[in-house]
Symmetry: C2
Subunit: 667 residues, 2 copies
């Protein structure tokens, strides 16, 4: 990039950096080749003039925004084709190689669920014949699909879905119906006006028997004309806090018929005569859910890295207030309160990425075992994916919000891109499993594990610490990273034990277990969170330590500082837990606080270098505040000038409404 | 309201309610007459058919939204005229009587700063002659104004503003200039295309001397044509996370001349020959700032009450999941984790209202003293208003976000109104004083107070607890409301002491005080927050207790439950502090947790009644999820059907982009 246009503050920051930014970039990408491949794709996409907005998206009407998004995303799909063709679902690896769509096209693509849910479900839940028929068409976008599960009246409770699929052996078809208003499919991205196919999750009935929810492959629009097929009611659900261009839709069926073989039959099946063949294992479908939650962790790490780049660069460019009279105004990044807002977010992006990779590797291993018929580790993986998705999505939203606030008023502007990132990240707290629902799933696993502790059984790896800290004594505190990790495990064990005891105490008067569970659920969620924090601390520290040994000493030092900052920040945040479950003293906490402030100072000179290490092109960052050259004020004014309201000096509403109001005042 | 249309869940909830909702309504309004007056105005406004949207605002383009907002707000101003005419600024009292604008017209009015800042500044900072000339015109809307202080490059640091006003004694005029890009005024609501006047805060120069920032009354557009006057560059700054219809603008001056008497001269003055007469007291302008921050507290309480009404009613209507197999799906409000999300927010709205009223009364008293020349209490009032504005805006945003999340996916829909409320509340964290800046102002007051403690001086009322808890022993814990309040004060005292010590420790190696202050600033903010929490707990408890004695026992009981919930929730949240600064034991914390769960259960049956007590009309609530009748799903579908995208079965972008993409795939 041409350095001569870069503002003096960022030039100076980059000169100060003590490590090689390129090395960090390669580390994050997973090697030099990966960086080169990613950059090649990004360069092709970002330099294509067709993909640029004529008028910035945020000035358009809701309808125009959708049309603009379709235009840009179709061009993007076309460009990406030669790269995605090399990809199959067997060689899929999470990386940020294809993480360009939400950047370049600004908001969420109407095709997001086509690639994110439609194809993975076809791959995972179709039998071989179905896969051969559908997957290539979906991969090439000859058909465009989405995943329709959630209904107006049902989200997290899948068993409660109301859409029915009733088998008719005479015609060898399923008849789909939407019995009530609340049974309309509601939310699927791309469903409204984009997809011509979808996976529909519906209650299966055959021979008068009810067999629970199953997935069906359903064509909803004519391939040639795109007109909804007879018996299909489809449309969009309206504007939202974010995801404005996702084209979320509703869908209703009126005696809509599909062939028998459109039920996805890898697991359960319905034979021609209507005989139902049960799936060998109910838990097989957990796979896709876990997969999606792993991917969410990477998405969160990426969105955090975008927000971090914007806020850190802006904080280096922005000057405000004199710390001392008669001295120049400070770069706001030099205020320690600002560092407190920024650096934990930077660190969290790294933590989510390395924990995400670790979870991915666990998933691959467990999946291989499942292939061999061994499902023993599935409950543990499921419990992990639940709490990590729940806690990390909340944490990411909090960090993005903090980044936005760190940019003051300008962070509130759409052109900063922070509001859009905020919308993307906030949504993830709810979709693919609502926070409390997921936390209570993990809590159920913890309660079973605690039964194991009481029965002196050997526990699975991620909860083995429960046995270690099962007695009531406070754990000996040590002011080291190992000590912090032990402290978090002690807190998780203590809270698990207390939640278990709370259920027992609510049970006593003869209440049902479920009611006692409900009464204790605030404590159960708290135990899940503590467990998740222990995992995040333990895994991030071990992974960052491992990585630090694979790089040059200067970069290694930075990685360890970021990892230690994460542990220290959370120790101080959760000092209430540490005080309850370890022997930590007030003096120890003061030491942690001092070390925290020291780490902020250590990270400060490298802050811009660290976010440069995320290597996010301006076109993908999409921010007036975060561009590589730091020309913040010029960009803010240039963007403002694009407003259609600024095209005319006097808006017509003056003559129509304001002037008459002023004249009446004079009377 | 016609009860026969109300869904069965809400009918049942209302039957369960143990207190008289009308009594709560009157209590919140401040008496029966106040309720009647408020309802009269609301009824006139809400039943006026002209004020309704043709197409819901959120489907419009940015420009159309502005035009629609002007249309609605001009009608609103006209309707309100006969009520506002009775109002003068001398008889102003905060109440929710006129809190209808943000409700009925959905988002922020382009006239907000006309009433919220332009008029108050004219009233407070003009001399009598100026007041007589300008205020009636502003009150009648013969002129429309805003308040232009913030610039592109400067927000919180007012002394750093760059716009200049140079006095020219030859023509007896000030010459306004915008020397740099960063000196453009940026952000004022209504500035872009709505206001024809504004208060401009600029650096005053006279006779070659610089006299710091002063306010000027400036006409920027022609009264008849609305065309910007020569030498004025004005326009809008673009879309934002919220405040979409606020018409925030930028403004630049090129040798723009205004008469000498357009400088607001209640305090400082410039004479005809250019002689500068200093203000008698620099702190006089604090008054407006404090006033605005008090008003913000009421705004936050109101927005919280809107979000609470939406989320609580929805939670009573929505069913999801079976707690026990073969039983019907529960109302989600029966999940204790949901109560945990909801009730603290409901309680917080009451707390902010009563603390706001207390702060208002303090403000009135201090203002009266200032009139008598006594400014002793101003620093304390300023310190209070700073931390309360900072902490309450953050808390309100967190609570609104929790309400939104409590509504699951549907809370993400614009039609729920939660995203708009979220935008309004989030903005308040930054405007009128950024969080950290305000917290450090309060911290400065606390450090002075601590000096007072060390010098054994008598402290002012709100910090007198610092002396009480100044020794190092942990404070004796008592598991009562009084004990909790003492605990919070002990924590605030402990943190103040530690922050003071932290500054000293950073000072030792010979550093400047300002650098030491900066290094310790994370701890200083933490001390400010602890101080603010102690105030919120103490005042809310005493006020709610007082109020509970003025009402019937059944309502009194509910008020005390809400107030105790607030104390208990925060004790558990801040148990780390209590463990550090009091003798609270693990067993005490377990008791608090049990009491917290008990309070959730006590409040549960009255939850809908309590939010009905906010008495917010459907037209002001503006929510598909929160309407009085609970017809959630019908409303969601009705709103979706209004989408212009749903007017045609196939969007033209299919033929233009999607179909060609599909065809290429086939090749």
């Amino acid at each position: 990039m041409a350095e001569h246009n870069v503002c003096v503050e960022l030039v100076r920051e980059r000169q100060k950096c003590t490590f090689e930014v390129q090395e960090l970039i390669h580390l994050i990408d997973g090697g030099i080749t990966a960086t080169e491949e990613r950059r090649e794709v990004e360069n092709v996409v970002c330099t294509d003039p067709r993909i640029k907005d004529v008028v910035p998206e945020e000035y358009l009407s809701h309808k125009e925004r959708y049309e603009n998004a379709i235009r840009k995303n179709c061009i993007l799909q076309e460009i990406l084709k030669k790269y995605t063709e090399k990809r199959t679902w067997d060689n899929f690896r999470p990386s940020n190689k294809y993480r360009i769509s939400s950047g370049v096209v600004k908001d969420i693509s109407p095709f997001m669920l086509h690639t994110g849910m439609f194809i993975p479900t076809l791959v995972n839940q179709s039998d071989d014949e179905q896969k051969a028929k559908w997957v290539p068409k979906a991969m090439s976008m000859e058909i465009i699909g989405t995943y329709a599960q959630t209904e107006l009246g049902h989200g997290s409770f899948i068993r409660g879905l109301e859409t029915t699929a009733t088998y008719d052996p005479n015609t060898e078809e399923f008849v789909l119906n939407t019995p009530n208003l609340t049974s309309y499919k509601w939310w699927p991205g791309g469903l409204a006006h984009t997809a011509n196919h979808c996976i529909v999750v519906a209650q299966l009935y055959s021979k008068g028997q009810h067999y629970g929810v199953h997935p069906f492959f359903v064509q909803i629009r004519d391939i040639e004309t795109h007109v909804p097929l007879p018996g299909i009611k489809v449309g969009e659900i309206g504007p939202k806090l974010g995801f404005q261009t996702a084209n979320n839709g509703f869908l209703g069926f009126e005696n809509f018929r599909i062939p028998r073989r459109n039920m996805l039959m890898k697991n359960a099946q319905v034979l021609k005569d209507g005989t139902y063949i049960k799936s060998k294992n109910d838990k097989l479908t957990y796979g896709t859910m876990v997969f999606v939650r792993v991917i969410i962790l990477f998405d969160l790490a990426f969105e955090l890295s975008r927000a971090a780049t914007i806020a850190v660069r802006y904080s280096a460019v922005r000057h405000q207030s004199q710390l001392k009279a008669n001295e120049p105004e400070l770069q706001i990044i030099d205020y320690v309160t600002q560092q407190h807002k920024l650096f934990i977010g930077v660190s969290t992006s790294h933590v989510f990425r390395v924990v995400g990779l670790w979870l991915w590797n666990t998933y691959v291993k467990v999946n291989a075992d499942i292939g061999k018929g061994n499902m023993d580790q599935l409950p543990e993986l499921h419990a992990l994916a639940c709490c990590l998705k729940a806690v990390c999505s909340r944490d990411a939203a909090a960090r993005v919000e903090e980044f936005r606030l760190a940019c003051g008023g300008h962070g509130f502007m759409t052109s900063s891109n922070l509001p859009i990132i905020n919308g993307i990240v906030s949504a993830s707290i709810t979709y693919e499993g609502e926070f409390s629902v997921l936390m209570l799933q993990t809590a159920r696993f913890l309660m079973k594990a605690w039964n194991g502790v009481l029965a002196r059984k050997t526990l699975t790896p991620t909860v083995s610490y429960l046995s270690k800290f099962s007695n009531s004594d406070r754990v000996q505190w040590a002011n080291t990273t190992a000590g912090i990790i032990s402290g978090f495990q002690a807190a998780a064990a203590g809270k698990t034990k207390e939640a278990y005891a709370a259920i027992q105490s609510y049970l006593k008067p003869g209440t049902d277990y479920e009611d006692a569970w409900n009464s204790a659920s605030v404590q159960l969620v708290s135990a899940s969170e503590a467990h998740c924090r222990a995992i995040l601390c333990e895994i991030s520290w071990s992974e960052m330590q491992r990585l630090s040994k694979t790089v040059s000493p200067n970069l290694g030092k930075v990685l360890l500082e970021l990892a230690e900052l994460y542990l220290t920040y959370w120790s101080l945040e959760k000092r209430g837990d540490l005080l309850m479950y370890t022997t930590i003293s007030t003096a120890d906490i003061a030491k942690l606080q001092a070390r925290y402030e020291e780490l902020l100072a250590l990270i400060r000179p490298n802050a811009v270098g660290i976010v440069d290490g995320f290597d996010i092109r301006d076109e993908i960052l999409n921010s007036t505040l975060g561009a590589y050259d730091g020309r913040v004020y010029e960009r803010l004014m240039e963007e403002a000038k694009k407003s259609p309201l600024n095209a005319e000096p006097v808006n017509e509403s003056f003559h129509k409404y304001i002037k008459p109001l002023m004249l009446k005042a004079k009377l």
